[in-house]
Symmetry: C2
Amino acid sequence: MKKKSKSISELNATISRVDEICRSNNLGFTDIRKQVFEIIIKNNKPIKAYQILDEIRNITNKPSHPPTVYRAIDFLIENGFVHKLNSINSFVGCFHPKTHEECYFLICKKCNLYQECCDDSLKDRISKTAVHNNFIISNTTLEIEGHCLDCSKK
Amino acid sequence: MKKKSKSISELNATISRVDEICRSNNLGFTDIRKQVFEIIIKNNKPIKAYQILDEIRNITNKPSHPPTVYRAIDFLIENGFVHKLNSINSFVGCFHPKTHEECYFLICKKCNLYQECCDDSLKDRISKTAVHNNFIISNTTLEIEGHCLDCSKK
DNA sequence: CATTGCAATGTTATAACATAACATATATAA
DNA sequence: TTATATATGTTATGTTATAACATTGCAATG
């Protein structure tokens, strides 16, 4: 389980990476989208849409509305830069965008830190289950809630 | 993928089974709870809380309110008789309550039919992933969305 | 350089999902 | 009887998300 925040350099590297991906794929990484992405990725923990909205209002001192945030989130999810945790209606940044399609998560209920856990054996197992049921996967939600090592010690 | 509705006898068997479990565990399977359970399990497809509320209103012709439904759902989920599909804010009945803790799902986006797919190899794989990350699981959400055989043929 | 088209954003309103808080009822045990 | 616990009724509100339409800005085309 992740113990501490990502380093500044790691954050910046991820942001640059997304910037590049957008440029090379002709995706408009607009100010709003960049802003929302940065808020999500810097948050370290899953963040909710209305928290993002509050932050934007604080930063810009302008009126902002839910659709602005949700549209940006949609863009970021569509392109794999952000994931939604359905079990807690929250959003997390992806630290290795475009390197995998599916993303699985461990979420600590106590400290709220999360970790992507996208190992291939798990992916394979899920694929096999789908095949076995004659099912064509379009997207998978795997969210494992519980306690990380630190929090289960306490 | 499930092709058709469960048979009446299968439904009744499940309802009786739940009834028994409640009796032997001293759980109050009250009228409201039974009613909500029956609505969910007979629906065959994932159903939403407010749809359940509408059905109750139709059946009873009395004023009913969201908390009534959500309380019943909470009871049913706590005791493993119903599961929530977080990815679509919907509820499904469990056809083998108390025989497993975790329940995984295949959900067809086209016809909305769902199937529980709780094979042990998948469960083991998830456990191993958790162990590998020093993580203690309290609950797992695995929802695989896509298309069932029938719908992918069309 | 219009003007047309398109993608993104602004804005208002409301839909959809869920729970807090307190009142009432019902059953059962002390 | 009274106390206690469990369940339900009821009002209000909190939280999450989207529909619908107006406006802006920019780039391609004539």
